[in-house]
Symmetry: C2
Subunit: 375 residues, 2 copies
């Protein structure tokens, strides 16, 4: 894929009023094997007082593991195990917020998410909803959050989603799967310890890493791209290729995939994801298909939109001997297809990024149905 | 240079207490051609009140230019033009702080640096010294700043130094050229508008861009490197190669060099610069040689330390027909050489990064003198 020679349209008369996003970055990051051991000293100065706890939201696969024994719990801190078997939901966020408000007289010192995209997104959303009124689903969209969230920390234990660095938290709501995109969503602190990703199964490693690969392809081939996003996207893509197509030492592969995820998340700053993510959201919404595998299920059939990307994807899939499930949509009714298509087509910025202003002429309901039917 | 296959030593037993830096990143960044026009709306919510001004420190090459007319001055904001002909000095910082304290009854809302590395470093240092007691030279070193600085914004008008993203501000003091390295040094906001770099002369464009190229070579070949810094350094190096060795469209080259500088600065997060920077500091200290050209003057003679890097540098120099000055050190006395050598050798972390713990066996005063004599 000759992305470098891509022509980026950046000629804007200086007299024209520009409207670029003033992008929030994670203000603190620690990277290194074993750096999880420094979490306690990082949190200490952020404790409001001994009554204001830290709430640790942790993927329940770690229950009883060595990782849990290393979580620096003191005072009335609380550890809540959460299953990541399903996509994170708005009512799950509301329930967590309700519980935390009930358990304590004051706001927590902070929320720490430890896990994959699901746990990171829940941590972000809970941190927002502790200071904002109403229910989480009311904030799904762009820049609807009005009040700063409480201090929140992201600690990924699997690499690929980019949730550790992005300004969104993607939730399944009663009506849609959509992110809470806001400047207050971004983590205040991220801890990147590649050793935490050691126990991940090959399949999960592949699906989640492909989330990164696919959003790089979507970002780099999108119409929203500028040089900022391009440089991050190119680096993330290069790292994905190294990890999934070369024969790196395991340690090096873990380090590099963690950085791929980081840069991949940053590449969305001035860009967007595209066709695969839009359609994968439909699958998740109707069938609860998890995000990573959902992206793969869709992306394999997107040769007409991303020819070189799909070719690379197939190479990676073969190298790691990954068998994607088949027949997922075989028994669906016309109404089911309609629901998925509506969810997918409602994500206007994704389609506009992928196909330009005239996207509706290409992304017709019939076209989407024909793709879903192959899955 | 086969940097990818470099073996990074990252195997640390989880029981060992790690001591990684919790790295501060610029929390807000806006990128895009023409985004300078959004500066007013970015600053507005940061105004403490109408009496607390923004102080704009601006490179005096812009005096009377169109850029100045676009600076959003209101209330009692102040614009101070500063020459970047010389390296920024600690007593210059002290004088600016004295003036600002004298001119106003209260602390400013913020300091905005508009220019190259000199102006950006002055803005950072002034923002620190407005809240910290004593003189700037007392803070040259690592983590000596105790109080948070005031809000400060970096707006580069030339690309390469990485000052827009780094946690240092390098100053010439009475005794040394050394950075104020601290978590409070990092800008609160950076505005990256590639159009602002339009008027730069070819020589300055080359020297400043080579600052980025050289610190990437130093970082990627250093012993401190980890996967975080490596990924940024590799991307910055790749962008430098595109800009200086390929034939890009001017707009694209400006965009890409701005991103190279950004990533290059980030690549120092878990790394350090090396031999060229250490020796260039000596040149600056004694002779006032500016940083960009100083790096080039030294780096051309560092083939034994950075063989592939020096080869690439020579290619770039030839392609752009750059003639480096000669005979800079011809008339120096032995005492002069000693001063430069002492300044260079005092920068222990740089040498340790470049050559490992045993650096003193390789970086002898005689070796340094022989290199300085060639310049």
């Amino acid at each position: 894929m000759d992305i470098k020679s891509k022509n980026i349209n950046t000629i804007i008369s200086p007299e024209l009023k520009t409207n670029y996003k003033n992008f929030p970055m994670v203000p603190r990051v620690i990277f290194g094997i074993g750096c999880f051991g420094q979490l306690g000293e990082i949190l200490m100065p952020k404790r409001i007082n001994s009554e204001a706890p830290f709430i640790f939201l942790v993927d329940d696969v770690f229950e009883g593991s060595g990782l849990v024994s290393r979580i620096p719990l003191i005072f009335n801190d609380q550890l809540i195990f959460i299953s990541a078997d399903e996509e994170p939901k708005t009512d799950q966020v509301d329930a967590l917020v309700y519980k935390i408000r009930n358990d304590y007289d004051q706001l927590p010192s902070g929320i720490i998410g430890i896990g994959g995209g699901t746990l990171l997104d829940l941590a972000k959303a809970v941190a927002i909803m502790l200071t904002n009124k109403g229910n989480a689903h009311e904030y799904q969209g762009w820049d609807l959050v009005k009040k700063p969230s409480i201090y929140h920390v992201g600690i990924p234990t699997i690499s690929g989603t980019g949730a550790e660095v992005s300004r969104t938290t993607v939730l399944l709501g009663p009506e849609k799967k959509l992110g809470i995109n806001s400047d207050y969503t971004t983590f205040d602190q991220v801890l990147l310890d590649p050793d935490l990703t050691k126990g991940v199964s090959k399949e999960q490693w592949f699906y989640t890493g492909m989330d990164c690969f696919i959003h790089c392809i979507e970002s780099l081939n999108g119409t929203f791209l500028n040089a900022f996003s391009q440089s991050y996207g190119e680096k993330a893509l290069e790292l994905c290729k190294e990890v999934y197509l070369e024969d790196l030492h395991e340690d090096e592969a873990r380090n590099k995939l963690m950085m791929a995820s980081w840069h991949g998340g940053m590449s969305i700053a001035y860009s967007q994801v595209g066709v695969a993510h839009a359609m994968s959201y439909g699958l998740s919404y109707l069938l609860g298909v998890r995000h990573g595998i959902g992206n793969c299920l869709v992306f394999q059939h997107l040769k007409e939109f991303y020819p070189e990307g799909v070719e690379l994807f197939n190479e990676m899939k073969e190298k790691h001997n990954i068998q994607l499930p088949k027949g997922i949509c075989k028994e669906l009714t016309n109404d089911d297809f309609e629901i998925m298509i509506n969810v997918a087509l409602s994500l206007v910025p994704l389609w506009e990024n992928a196909l330009g202003k005239e996207w509706r002429t290409m992304a017709t309901p019939e076209k989407l149905k024909s793709i879903y039917q192959k899955i």
